[in-house]
Chain length 234, copies 2
């Protein structure tokens, strides 16, 4: 009944999709369910989106977009790397804990994207955005703590995302808050141990902020981790 410009209707439907999918799982997010959630009839959804895939893609895009927005807001001018790392991980964790459904949904989207070529880009985008956010965080820490990382930044970024994903998934299954928290704390310590004060590396003489001293066998100059055909963050 209520007439709306298409753009607004789309947003409303995306929001509805997000709600249903977070609550019922990705399989529960049928076109019908989304229409019902939004309080419109079936036809409206198909008027706003070419097909279900386009709706899902739009929904996924909104999610990653928001994850990008919720990046590192402000960082102290100067603080020890350890404190910065610990602080951000704490915050990240409390955020995850507070959003079970959406969190699970992102993993459902990842696995789904791996089985459906039409959604393939969704999974790639998720990681591109996550890794980029992690790298930005690492840069901030470098600046604020006056350090560099013992291993290439992108490797550290990838490690951060992997660890958070792994602990989150396990926590979704067993719901053990303490165990997850313990694990993340331990990881934070590890992360902090990867930071080396800039003075100590000064004598190595280099302009780049990338690490020059690899850990044992971790080679610093591995090829950059940009998957082919993933130039688009947009």
């Amino acid at each position: 009944m209520n007439r709306l410009p298409v753009a607004e209707r789309r947003e409303q439907l995306i929001e509805a999709a997000l709600s249903v999918a977070s609550r019922e799982g990705i399989d529960g997010a049928t076109v019908r369910a989304v229409a019902a959630e939004a309080g419109v009839s079936l036809g409206v959804v198909h008027y706003c989106f070419r097909d279900k895939d386009e709706l899902l893609r739009a929904m996924a895009h909104t999610i990653t977009e928001r994850n990008l927005g919720r990046g590192v807001a402000e960082m102290p001018e100067s603080a020890p790397a350890r404190d910065l790392v610990l602080g951000v991980l704490e915050e990240l964790w409390s955020n995850i804990r507070a959003t079970r459904g959406p969190q699970l949904l992102t993993y459902e989207l990842t696995t789904t994207s791996l089985r459906h070529p039409e959604l393939r880009q969704v999974g790639v985008d998720q990681y591109v955005v996550s890794w980029a956010a992690a790298e930005r965080f690492l840069e901030e820490v470098e600046r604020a703590a006056g350090i560099v990382w013992r291993v290439p930044r992108h490797t550290v970024a990838r490690t951060i995302i992997a660890t958070i994903d792994g602990f989150s998934l396990a926590w979704l299954v067993d719901g053990d808050d303490d165990a997850a928290y313990q694990g993340l704390r331990l990881f934070a310590e590890h992360l902090a141990s990867l930071a080396v004060p800039i003075d100590e590396t000064a004598m190595l003489g280099t302009g780049t902020t990338a690490a020059d001293e690899p850990a044992a066998d971790v080679h610093p100059f591995a090829a950059p981790t940009v998957p082919a055909g993933v130039s688009a963050l947009a």
Copy 2:
């Protein structure tokens, strides 16, 4: 046509389910598809399994059972912790790389189990088995390397599984073998750094192999050390 005892038929069907699900994804593992894969007709599957859920549960059970079997085969009588850790992670990784489909399937099973109460136990079992395997491995390392871990064993075990899951998932998406390998190497170094020679802890006088001396601030109930300026990130 070919008459078989139910038990064998069941195994055959489970095998078929495993194949289809690994290849086409969990959604592709319909009762019909499984029947086709096994070369039997639809009715047969329903004769051997009460319903689809029971088939999926049986399939999942087979997977975790095999993961349990493929535990740490042999471990040297004596070797440095670092070598042991590196060796096992290498092997684990090459195994994952060689089994994309099944690997992805386990994650699909995890997320699916989180949305369907009837399959809830599947996800729990996956982790129980994984954690147990990791703990057994850690015990072996303790013995062979003459060390104990700086943090409770179950925390380390959980970290191992989380890290492997995280890197695997990312690798499934971007297919970057090098990046995944780099990350796991770095993790191996971290793991090795958690080992402390038994001599150094002897004076602490304790019978348990669990760590009694938490790392720096990794205390179960330590208040979050969030620097003033960082809490703004929340």
